[in-house]
Point group: C2
Chain length 145, copies 2
DNA sequence: TATCATTAGTTGATATATCAATTATTAATC
DNA sequence: GATTAATAATTGATATATCAACTAATGATA
């Protein structure tokens, strides 16, 4: 049985594109902000905008395993980006809050991220982006078990 | 500055789709073959088809760091999928060869992979796939520094 | 209200990602 | 032919991915 060579598939193209973007975005962030990863940056944005999110919900948004997120949060606390406090309404969960250091970072991020996205999507129409989003959404749904 | 929320972006859609596909593909492989990852499976296919590839070239095809691939190969040798022998023409590189165990696996893989891809791409036209591939290719090129 | 199921989060084990530094070999240049 | 540059692969340090097993708290139900 002859299958299409992996590097010719759409899946290869998808991985290739997202890895290139992540690498580029991380570089651009690192140029201006020290000691933070792309995912940590996104985590800060999410926490700031939706402070009520549970870690599990945050994990899903960031495409991370709960276990990974636990360790990521732990590291972000250690690195002084986030503080964790008890949530009196539900003792299973925690409240995550940005530190001042993180607030300063979050203030800088939008320009960087905006610029990264603009660079990555240069010359690509919004209409095409929507087509791609829909197709990717279909792939995702097709893969639900 | 208000930027588009990360989860609304095309990058989020890309990550979401590829992660769903990888998870699905891994599950389907695991159902039929024990003790091998999706990436290791792809590595076997590449090695079988292009035995002359260096580890660095292989790494690029699999979207892995050279360091990651070194460890992956080491593990595949340990797990009895691959043997490494000296390359007399260039002592810096190695020859990678599939073991019998791996040959049996590689014989089973095409059906599984074919089926996985078909499931993931169900209802999506080839024409649309090409559009997406092109757009992803553009993103990749835009992100080259 | 006692039992059971669900939810939120953690931990251990193992594999992989990433960057930088390093070794060994080969290629290029003078 | 000696020096330098480039290539192939490895290693160390640190972070993350993944699965399974686990604790603790809350919710549902009988």
């Amino acid at each position: 049985m002859e299958i299409q060579h992996p590097s010719e598939t759409i899946f290869h193209a998808i991985e290739s594109a997202i890895k290139a973007y992540r690498k580029y975005a991380q570089q651009k962030i690192s140029e201006q902000i020290e000691g933070i990863t792309l995912d940590q940056s996104l985590a800060l944005i999410y926490i700031k905008k939706h402070p009520e999110l549970t870690q599990n919900e945050l994990a899903e948004l960031l495409f991370k395993d709960n276990a990974s997120l636990t360790r990521m949060i732990k590291l972000m606390v250690k690195n002084g980006f986030v503080t964790r406090t008890i949530n009196d309404e539900d003792l299973r969960r925690y409240k995550l809050t940005l530190t001042k250091k993180a607030e300063i970072i979050v203030a800088k991020l939008p320009q960087i991220i905006q610029s990264n996205r603009a660079t990555a999507l240069d010359g690509i129409t919004l209409a095409d982006q929507e087509v791609v989003k829909e197709l990717l959404h279909d792939i995702k749904n097709n893969c639900k078990i």
